[in-house]
């Protein structure tokens, strides 16, 4: 593993304080098209739920509306709210003052963070806690370090301390058997 991050420029993300006017969150840019997509997804989910519920049998108990009624109402509600978002998306207003839209770097970083979290759970499944956790901590430390930072020693120490610490809390403190992996 590299001992330092690459030399990418770091944006100045020092936040600016909110004002009273900024307290009410405003719709982010691109909201209309996003609302339409959200509306489509919600409507499709609702429709799929209705189809699934149609296959259920009534309970047969006197007066009982059966297992379809409440989830059915929720599914129809989801279709209707989905339609509302599709047909009447929120108008785009100015974004909150001081809140810049996320840049490509941050999007990539978030995707990478998600990827290593997925990798961690996969490794927990296969290799167990004591192999997966230090590797994940090292990867997370590397990913979230700023460019140019020397990270090998602090990352290794953190990985060892956190693996032992979290392991002790769960295994000894709470008497929980940690994931052991498949082998």
């Amino acid at each position: 593993m590299d001992t330092s991050r690459g030399d990418q420029p770091t944006p100045d993300t020092t936040p600016s304080p909110p004002t009273e006017a900024a307290a009410a969150p405003a719709a982010p840019a691109g909201t209309r098209s996003r609302d339409r997509v959200s509306g489509l997804v919600m409507g499709a989910l609702g429709a799929a739920a209705i189809v699934h519920l149609a296959g259920l049998e009534a309970s047969g108990l006197t007066g009982d509306p059966g297992p379809r009624m409440i989830p059915g109402i929720a599914a129809v509600g989801l279709v209707l709210t989905g339609l509302a978002l599709l047909l009447r998306p929120e108008p785009v207003t100015v974004a909150s003052p001081g809140a810049a839209p996320p840049g490509d770097d941050n999007r990539r970083l978030t995707a990478q963070l998600l990827l290593i979290i997925v990798g961690y759970v996969a490794l927990l499944t296969v290799a167990g806690y004591f192999i997966a956790t230090p590797l994940f901590i090292l990867a997370g430390f590397w990913l979230l370090s700023r460019p140019g930072e020397k990270i090998l020693v602090p990352a290794a120490v953190t990985a060892a301390v956190v693996t032992a610490g979290v392991g002790l809390i769960f295994a000894v403190g709470l008497d929980i058997v940690l994931p052991e992996g498949m082998f």
């Binding site: 959200s38 309970s59 409440i70 970083l109 961690y120 693996t163 709470l174 929980i176």
Partner: protein, 504 residues
């Protein structure tokens, strides 16, 4: 007195202290909320007695609400939504060179607000619980529906999105075997879902994983800088300051309690409303926004008082008033405690424990803030490269530990992605959680009510209490829809600004 002594254990007192400190730390970091803190602590409660678990979660709840003061004052960034209005005057006061005074006012206001909220909790809860015992399934269905609708339409800015999140939560809550007849729904043959989506991966995924992704998306690798340094001792205020703002504190706390009791409102509305009222009543309203002391007393006493208020419906009816109390309710359910009117008659020791540890948490959080005023800001400097991997390791093992099934860790990640997507799309998450928790309750009462009336729906509107709640639900929907439709037709200054770019 004996009842109180019964609930005091060393384990619970230590848990309360740890929960309070953790809540303060989490609440202090912008982006990390009390909800996330409680989600993180839930796995730790597995090995604890229910009393210690209650103490840990209540401590984290109170600490998490109070902790938002630190970053609001020193960074001008609200640590959580309950402290948005605090930034308006605490940050300017800190910038003017009086950070200790700003923090001192906030800490003291939290103490008074918390104590008044506690007084409301212990005086209102038994009354509401005894009235609730008289209600039947028709009334319970109606009141639960009202709570769900209130949260759905009041959370966020868009009614359709709030309702959609609530419906999504209802569907999530109906996964697995149905109540009454045990029909299998939405399991798609996966036996892991027979019991429904487990509450722990749902809470951790929705509120912790998604929040971490959201913070990474908005801040990247950067950690906010803490620009203000200060030294000295004491609170920076005297008794005369408290007396001078006495009525403001009481009025703001009453606003907080009243808003907290209503489902769907919570600390966010409480602190903004109390601030607005304090400004309206001030002799020199022009000083607000420039470091006015009353502009800190009001929101901080109000948001702390709302904690006590929002515990009332959660304790007496089993209906959480907001997302944080929904997580708290989830924690109690995990320990086999079902809040509601019967809790008061069947498990008074649990009620005593919640009341007692709520009060102690208010005092402990005050003491910790008093002595840790110079230490807690340091948490704002913890880089993400330490914080996030540690939290993820903790959460993944915690989600697994609930059922010893790695599938729950996968579920946590999947729900984290869904939560992140929903937040990015402007959907509030509280209605989803409430729908998930209240869905099975709503369905059980609905089906029981209809079975008792042989399928006759009219008692929902002929029984007086049920009719009131159904009427209130319809009224909330109509009024909210009407007012938002009217607001959307009225152009705001933002819409007219050259940078707003209203897209057709």
């Amino acid at each position: 007195m004996g009842a109180i002594v019964d609930v005091i254990t060393i384990e619970a007192v230590v848990a309360l202290a740890l929960g309070s400190a953790f809540g303060l730390l989490i609440g202090a970091v912008p982006g990390l909320t009390a909800m996330m803190g409680m989600a993180l602590l839930l796995p730790l409660t597995f090995g604890m007695s229910s009393t210690a678990a209650i103490a840990l979660l209540v401590g984290c709840y109170i600490g998490g609400i109070a902790g938002g003061l630190v970053s609001s004052t020193l960074l001008g960034m609200p640590g959580n939504s309950s402290s948005i209005a605090t930034t308006f005057d605490a940050y300017p006061m800190a910038k003017k060179g009086e950070p200790v005074k700003a923090l001192g006012i906030g800490v003291t206001a939290s103490l008074f607000g918390g104590l008044l909220g506690f007084a409301a909790l212990i005086s209102l809860s038994p009354v509401v619980a005894s009235v609730a015992l008289l209600l039947g399934p028709f009334e319970y269905f109606s009141i639960t529906l009202l709570a769900l609708m209130l949260v759905a339409v009041l959370a966020g800015n868009n009614m359709a999105k709030g309702l959609a999140a609530g419906f999504l939560g209802l569907l999530a809550g109906s996964i697995g075997f149905a109540p009454i007849d045990s029909s299998e729904r939405f399991t798609f043959g996966w036996s892991h879902l027979w019991g429904g989506i487990a509450i722990l991966p749902l809470i951790i995924g929705l509120f912790a994983i998604s929040e971490m992704m959201r913070v990474t998306m908005s801040e990247g690798r950067e950690t906010p800088k803490v620009p203000v340094r200060y030294s000295g001792f004491g609170l920076g205020i005297g008794i005369a300051d408290v007396v001078r703002s006495g009525w403001n504190i009481v009025r703001s706390s009453l606003i907080g309690i009243a808003i907290g009791v209503l489902p769907g409102m919570g600390g966010t509305a409480a602190n903004l409303l109390a601030y607005a009222r304090a400004k309206q009543a001030a002799r020199n309203p022009d000083e607000f926004g420039k470091g006015a002391a009353d502009g800190i007393w009001a929101p901080e006493s109000s948001n702390s008082a709302s904690s006590g208020g929002s515990m009332v419906p959660m304790m007496t009816l089993g209906i959480p008033g907001d997302g944080v109390t929904a997580v708290l309710l989830g924690g109690l359910i995990i320990h086999g405690i079902q809040p509601g009117p019967l809790l008061f008659s069947e498990n008074p020791e649990v009620v005593n424990a919640i009341f007692f540890y709520f009060l102690i948490a208010v005092v402990v959080v005050f003491a910790m803030q008093l002595f840790g005023m110079r230490v807690f800001p340091l948490v704002l400097r913890v880089p993400k490269r330490y914080l996030f991997p540690i939290l993820v390791a903790f959460m993944a093992v915690g989600a697994y530990a609930a059922s010893y099934q790695i599938a729950d860790a996968w579920l946590m990640v999947a729900l984290g992605v869904i939560g992140f997507g929903l937040v990015a799309g402007g959907f509030p998450l509280s209605p989803l959680l409430l729908g998930y928790i209240l869905g099975p309750i709503v369905e059980t009462y609905f089906r029981r009510a209809l079975m008792s009336s042989d399928g006759d729906y009219t008692p929902f509107i002929t029984r007086p209490a049920s009719a009131v709640f159904i009427g209130a639900t319809v009224l909330v929907l109509v009024v909210t829809f009407w007012s938002r439709a009217r607001a959307s037709r009225t152009p705001t200054p933002h819409d007219r600004s050259p940078t707003s770019g209203v897209v057709p």
